[in-house]
């Protein structure tokens, strides 16, 4: 029961992007199309689950005083693997995500989960935590992407959805990212106030 709880908490209650406002940089930069959002979400989830497993397995071995550098090296290793894999198998996605793949290493969510969860829990719950947080982040990314792609390019996953109207290019330019995320956060705050 509690394992399911570990998964679901990351999706709604502790959604890393909407509730904790972590990992904003990629959420603003690469969310110009739904495809990018899905790719980024998948890469991110892979790294998060792998680093959670490794850190949880090593939690009794890593000395307290050097834990942060140790975590960063572990995360960087998995990011490098993901980077190489994406370069080999999804070259188009690799090009469009560009610099933001190596930058997963400095995504605060991953280090945050290592510090807050994986270093004090066994492996299985840590996997669930990683999956849940990854799914929550992917969902949030896709939500932001959907608004921006539909409004800014008039397409969804590349299929035209707004025939006959000219898209607002501003939405896929940088300001669109800030506006979308800001309004979504405000809207979610409002929803939460109502339900509380």
């Amino acid at each position: 029961m509690s394992l399911i709880n570990e998964i679901t908490k990351g999706i709604v209650r502790e959604n890393p992007l909407f509730r904790l406002v972590l990992g904003c940089c990629p959420a603003l930069a690469i969310t110009t199309s739904v495809e990018n959002g899905l790719g980024m979400g998948a890469a991110f989830t892979g790294v998060l689950v792998a680093s959670n497993i490794a850190i949880s397995a090593l939690r009794n071995i890593i000395p307290e005083s050097v834990r942060i550098p140790a975590y960063i090296v572990i995360i960087a290793a998995f990011v490098t693997m993901t980077d190489q894999l994406m370069h080999a198998f999804t070259p188009a996605l690799y090009t469009s995500l560009g610099i933001f793949i190596p930058l997963i290493v400095v995504n605060c969510i991953i280090l945050g989960r290592a510090e807050a969860f994986a270093n004090r829990n066994p492996i299985i719950p840590s996997i669930c935590d990683g999956l849940g947080m990854g799914a929550g982040y992917t969902l949030a990314l896709v939500l932001v992407c959907s608004f921006r792609e539909v409004l800014g390019a008039g397409t969804f996953l590349g299929h035209p959805v707004l025939p006959g109207s000219s898209p607002a290019i501003l939405m896929i330019l940088p300001p669109g990212g800030f506006i979308t995320l800001g309004c979504l956060l405000g809207f979610l705050n409002k929803l939460q106030k109502k339900s509380a």
Binding site: A76, T80, P102, L103, G182, N189, K190, K193
Partner: protein
């Protein structure tokens, strides 16, 4: 000379690291509530950014490239940045305790500031020489500080404004950033 000039203008205004490349958003939103704190943060990030830019360039040119181990780039760079940040933290703690307190949690977070790693990687991708690396890093640092200062100036005024309850805090900061980013889009015709 013109090349350097173009690098400076484009890094500070056109490709502003925060407002158009979305690097370093966390400190941009987190430390931009007070003008003084944001000046300190800008200074600390600028220092780390420039020194890290030069160091990572040297490591890439003299270590990673000759031995064909370019795939270790991410790991090598993040280690350099992490140790630099540790160093800045120790210096600030000793010589400027008030600033050290004001920056609080955001100081160790410079390590995970994507602006620092991002600029280091862009330096390598564009195959800059050492001179250009320094100019490029310095201009991006200036752009970061500029955006941070502007933002904190606006946010100090916003404190007196009547903002709908659900938009308070981060949402209104993001919308403010959107308007600033729109203004910066206007510079794109400059070069």
């Amino acid at each position: 000379m013109q090349e350097y000039f173009i690098i400076v203008i484009s890094a500070i205004l056109i490709n502003n690291i925060v407002l158009s490349q979305f690097l370093g958003i966390c400190p941009f939103l987190g430390v931009s509530k007070k003008l003084s704190a944001s000046l300190g943060m800008g200074g600390a990030v600028s220092f780390v950014l420039v020194v890290a830019g030069a160091l990572t360039w040297a490591v890439q040119t003299y270590l990673l490239n000759p031995y064909h181990i370019g795939y270790l780039q991410t790991i090598a760079f993040i280690l350099i940045i992490a140790s630099l940040v540790q160093f800045v933290e120790m210096v600030l703690k000793k010589y400027s305790p008030p600033l050290y307190k004001a920056l609080g949690i955001y100081l160790p977070l410079i390590t995970t500031n994507c602006a620092v790693l991002g600029v280091a990687i862009i330096n390598i991708q564009k195959e800059y020489t050492l001179g250009k690396v320094l100019v490029h890093s310095l201009s991006h640092a200036a752009g970061f500080t500029l955006a941070l200062l502007l933002m904190s100036g606006i946010r100090e005024r916003l404190e007196d404004a009547d903002i709908p309850e659900s938009m308070q805090g981060t949402p209104i900061a993001l919308v403010t950033a959107a308007l600033m980013s729109m203004a910066f889009l206007g510079f794109s015709g400059l070069i």
